[in-house]
Subunit: 337 residues, 2 copies
DNA sequence: GTGAAAGCGCTAACAC
DNA sequence: GTGTTAGCGCTTTCAC
């Protein structure tokens, strides 16, 4: 392993000069610099990251903390972060927390051991206090897909879930449906609360009073959508349409509908949320509220780098907009009879 | 940031003693050790990773190099690696290479800068020479989903693609189909070659001579499956069944079939490869050759750690088996008329 | 313009 | 048992 010391000997100069030359800093005679660079290249020199990190107190590495990485949403998010971090010559350390007893340790380890220069937290569960504490200790930190109520100084990248849901449900209403069910995610997750509000407002504005039993609590997975739909199918008179808080649950719901011998969208119209890559290829293709997931990751990364570099961040909250993507699963005409 | 030095002062001992105590090494009086541990806990001490890495020449970090991370296959693979590495207290640095002009630099940077203790390479494209070179330089390295022909000393985790494809196609033959098309991946990828051989042998063993035009080169994405299927649909007399080299292309193919006004599996039976999470929820549910993707990642990780720890690795090639998962898309009876 | 020296935080060999 | 010392590879004053 070539070190700066070897190069110094080879070039007949000191380590300091080599360091200056290699880092493009002034104070080295052109021909010396030239020679040093040549030797470095010839010897395939690469600076030792630990040594550099120790001296500079920087690692050129970011951490991203997500519950899981299988599943289209988080995978795409991490992709966005990864692309952006690479573009800025940062490495990415991936931490998945699901199934881990104390994810708290992971935040602290990454930052406390100074393994990373900052972290992006995509953790929808309730540990506001912890996040605030980390932030209070001065660690660069960006939160994605979640609004930390306790502090307005923590940088956040969030999606306008409220208006997204509003648009999704209004689309269904516009198609003539009035009895519209809602398969939501777990209530402790913030995005689900916002989507619920959007759902409720949409109905209310059209003088529809949703019954409690129209709303079912899912898990953001296919299985939850399936189970919820089975429950919702038992409602009499039957619901005409379902809004689901993500596409995966929409897919589960469609399966349940099919198994009950009904058709989508003819008997029941469906609108999902996310626009996962397969949404367009599903049968029927999914009408859904698209989130700019990769962009969220990229924005989070860029904001984190600003924070790391000590740049002033003008707005702590980056709010990205959703977009309604109309496809087949919602139907084009009135669905009910 | 608490350091070992602070603790030493606080406890009235030397840094060396603190280091010994904190690392559970012998040579420290019990009551001293006790006090050191208490202070460390109180001050929330965490060792600086760079300093430790520099001294120990180890980073407790692995690198995983994949083309992309969106897409169910690589996401699941990385998940497997991540779970396993966490279980062994290793961090994971994620490198995606797609769209990157010189992914070569990334291998070298990660290892050359000694940012990681070893890497898992999941890179189906042709850079055998590079991989061999890295291995020759003594860097711990495990290759996944690919057999490096040039060396039999490189540790590899591969799937029995040949028998997987064989089983998939034989399943179709068993259902009475004889005119079976094949939508494959790019030819320069090894897995596709093996699957092609499996496809060919299955037909040959049943005295079916596949025509060249039955085979179409896709891209492992939905789009490629869609495009290929459009081509295959023009064949007269029509094909009765299609084997696709992955589920994503199967999904694209099904879309093309539907748009042509035909039904799956009634008009054309389909068998995919991978068993992605959504395969069971697709309509029709996908018959497919399952790969133990997460396990591949976990095995690769474990082998890499063995290599890092200097343990003898008895078999360089871990070959995992596939499993045929029969669902609806292949039909249960003779499909054609 | 260049080199010597100190220091980043930790570990490990060797005295005491 | 414990402390002293050197060193991991790099950066960065500060003399020269």
């Amino acid at each position: 392993m070539t070190t700066i010391k070897v190069i110094a000997q080879e070039a007949g100069v000191s380590k300091a000069t080599v360091s200056l030359a290699l880092n493009d800093k002034p104070g080295v005679a052109p021909h010396i610099r030239q020679r040093i660079l040549e030797i470095a290249k010839r010897l395939n020199y690469q600076p030792n990251a630990s040594a550099r990190g120790l001296a500079l107190q920087k690692t050129q590495t970011l951490g991203v903390i997500v519950p899981d990485i299988s599943g289209p949403f988080y995978a795409e998010l991490v992709r966005g972060v990864g692309e952006e971090s690479r573009a800025h010559d940062y490495y990415l350390t991936l931490c998945t927390t699901i199934g881990r007893p104390s994810r708290e340790r992971m935040y602290f380890q990454l930052l406390g051991e100074q393994r990373v220069d900052g972290i992006i937290v995509v953790s929808p569960r309730n540990d506001e206090a912890l996040i605030c504490q980390i932030h209070a200790e001065g660690f660069p930190l960006v939160v994605v897909d979640r609004d930390i109520q306790a502090s307005d100084k923590i940088v956040e990248v969030i999606v306008d879930n409220f208006h997204g849901a509003l648009a999704g449900v209004e689309h269904l209403i516009g198609l003539g449906h009035r009895r519209i069910g809602f398969i939501n995610g777990p209530p402790e997750i913030q995005a689900t609360q916002d989507r619920l509000r959007g759902y409720q407002l949409a109905l209310r504005e059209h003088r529809i009073t949703p019954e409690d039993r129209w709303i079912c609590v899912g898990d953001f997975r296919k299985e939850g959508g399936y189970r919820c739909m089975q429950e919702l199918l038992s409602i009499k008179p039957p619901l005409e349409a379902i809004f689901t808080a993500n596409d995966l649950m929409a897919i589960g719901a469609i399966k349940a509908i099919r198994e009950a011998g009904k058709r989508v969208p003819d008997d029941i119209a469906i609108v999902g949320f996310d626009d996962i890559p397969l949404a367009a290829h599903f049968d029927p293709s999914l009408t859904t509220v698209r989130q700019p997931v990769a962009r969220m990751g990229a924005v989070a990364c860029r904001l984190l780098l600003q924070e790391i570099n000590g740049e002033e961040i003008l707005e702590c909250k980056a709010i990205l907009q959703t977009e309604l993507i109309v496809r087949a699963s919602s139907g084009t005409q009135e669905g009910g009879d």
